[in-house]
Every structure is written in structure tokens, then in C-alpha cells.
């Protein structure tokens, strides 16, 4: 099973790539996603994406409660930092 994680705005720089595909044997919960981000992407990512400033979209729908998130095969999970003004 695999899912795509998409990094928008400055998160792309921190992650070092616009998106990453993650393979897993069982559905991922929020804690699994955070652990994977810290291990495979960048150590500062978990705390950042866990903050209220970064929102999530799962398959184009906004996630209202990060803690209850489940990622299954074929999902696309996007990390959305605050948008730029101006």
C-alpha cells in the first residue's frame, strides 16, 4: 500500500521535495505520519505540521481533526502552511 504526501509553500523546502510517496503495510494514523516525516524527511517537520498553523487536506478535503486522521492505500495527504498575503 502507498500514499502520497504533498508539501506546499515553504514546507517543500524543509521536506526537500514537493511530494513523497510512502509505502506501508497497514493504514497510517497521525502519529505514524509524524514519525515517518521526522525519520524520512526532516527532524523539524513533525512539530511544524502538528501545529495549528499547518492544515491538512486528504484527497482534496480539509481535515478538521488531525488526531483522528487515517491514511489508506491511494490517498493523497497535503500539508498546507499559511498562504501568503499581498
Amino acid at each position: 500500500m502507498a500514499a502520497r504526501l504533498v508539501f506546499l509553500g515553504r514546507l517543500e523546502e524543509l521536506a526537500g521535495c514537493p511530494f513523497a510517496d510512502v509505502a506501508f503495510g497497514a493504514p497510517l494514523h497521525w502519529a505514524d505520519v509524524l514519525a515517518w516525516l521526522g525519520d524520512d524527511q526532516a527532524p523539524e517537520l513533525p512539530a511544524l505540521v502538528n501545529s495549528d498553523k499547518v492544515r491538512l487536506a486528504l484527497n482534496g478535503m480539509m481535515v478538521t481533526d488531525k488526531a483522528s486522521l487515517t491514511v489508506v492505500d491511494g490517498d493523497e495527504l497535503a500539508f498546507l502552511p499559511p498562504v501568503s498575503g499581498g
Partner: protein
């Protein structure tokens, strides 16, 4: 300065709503002319054109969007604006990708029988486009790209409508 424009595909939501996300330069004068000509019953058309400013030392601007969110959000906003004011037509065109000074970024035009509706609708649409739609912005200054953070002014602009 400004790049030559190329065609930008249309995704009309309804007869009088024209909402587009363009990855290539567009020509605001041509777009406004077509919009105006399609609406001879409108007495007034208010437009806002945002362009990449020259003279600030910004060499290029890069707007990133997230396809599954950005265009749906623009269409939702357009629907809200249409529901709030009596309009004959509403046009929203937003660029994404890399731009240089002089390039158009955003064009909003509201056509209405009454001038006040057209002004308010265009003003509201711009305030909400800037603050609620899904664009992330980088600027290139002295050869270095840097991400732009949200401005407090945008939150104040939004607060005017609550």
C-alpha cells in the same frame, strides 16, 4: 518586462461566472473587453488588476497552488460574491507559476446594473481571494528565492466584511 500573453483556458461555472486559474500569462485588457462585450445590459463594470510591481528589487514572483483546493476555492468564492450582490457577471482570473515585473497576477471584474454593487463585489472578491485562497508565494530578490508570509493587512481587510 511583461511576458507576452498566451491563451488561458476557460472553466465557466455558469453563464455569467468566469473563474480561471492560468499557468501562463494572460492579457487583462483583452479579458476585460470580452467580459464587457458579453454584458451589454450592465451599466457598470468595476475591475481590479494586480500586477507584479516593478522597482522593489523583486526579479521574479512564483505563485504555487494546490490543484485539488485552489480552483474549487475560487469557484466557491465566486458563488458567494454572486449570492451577496446583484451582478450581471463576475470574472476571476488568477495566475500561478513564475512571473516577472509587469506581469498580471490577478484580474477581478464585477458587472452590475448599479455601480455600488459592482464596487463592493470586486472589493470583497479581492479581499477574500488574497486571504482565503490557496496560493503560496515566493519572491526572487538578488537571485535568492524567499517565501512570503501572510500579512496582517489581509486579515484586517477580511474583517471589514464580517
Amino acid at each position: 518586462m511583461a511576458t507576452n500573453w498566451r491563451s488561458c483556458p476557460r472553466f465557466p461555472v455558469a453563464d455569467l461566472l468566469d473563474v480561471r486559474l492560468c499557468t501562463a500569462p494572460f492579457d487583462p485588457a483583452l479579458e476585460l473587453r470580452n467580459f464587457t462585450r458579453a454584458l451589454p445590459q450592465a451599466g457598470g463594470i468595476v475591475s481590479f488588476l494586480g500586477q507584479v510591481r516593478a522597482g522593489d528589487g523583486v526579479e521574479a514572483l512564483d505563485l504555487r497552488h494546490y490543484a485539488p483546493l485552489t480552483l474549487p476555492a475560487m469557484r466557491t468564492l465566486a458563488g458567494q460574491v454572486r449570492g451577496r450582490w446583484a451582478l450581471d457577471g463576475l470574472l476571476i482570473i488568477h495566475r500561478s507559476g513564475e512571473m516577472v515585473p509587469g506581469d498580471p497576477i490577478v484580474l477581478v471584474a464585477a458587472a452590475a446594473r448599479h455601480r455600488r454593487d459592482a464596487f463592493a463585489a470586486a472589493d470583497f472578491a479581492m479581499d477574500h481571494l488574497k486571504s482565503e485562497s490557496w496560493f503560496w508565494k515566493r519572491e526572487k530578490v538578488a537571485g535568492q528565492w524567499r517565501w512570503i508570509e501572510p500579512r496582517m493587512q489581509d486579515f484586517e481587510d477580511i474583517a471589514r466584511w464580517r
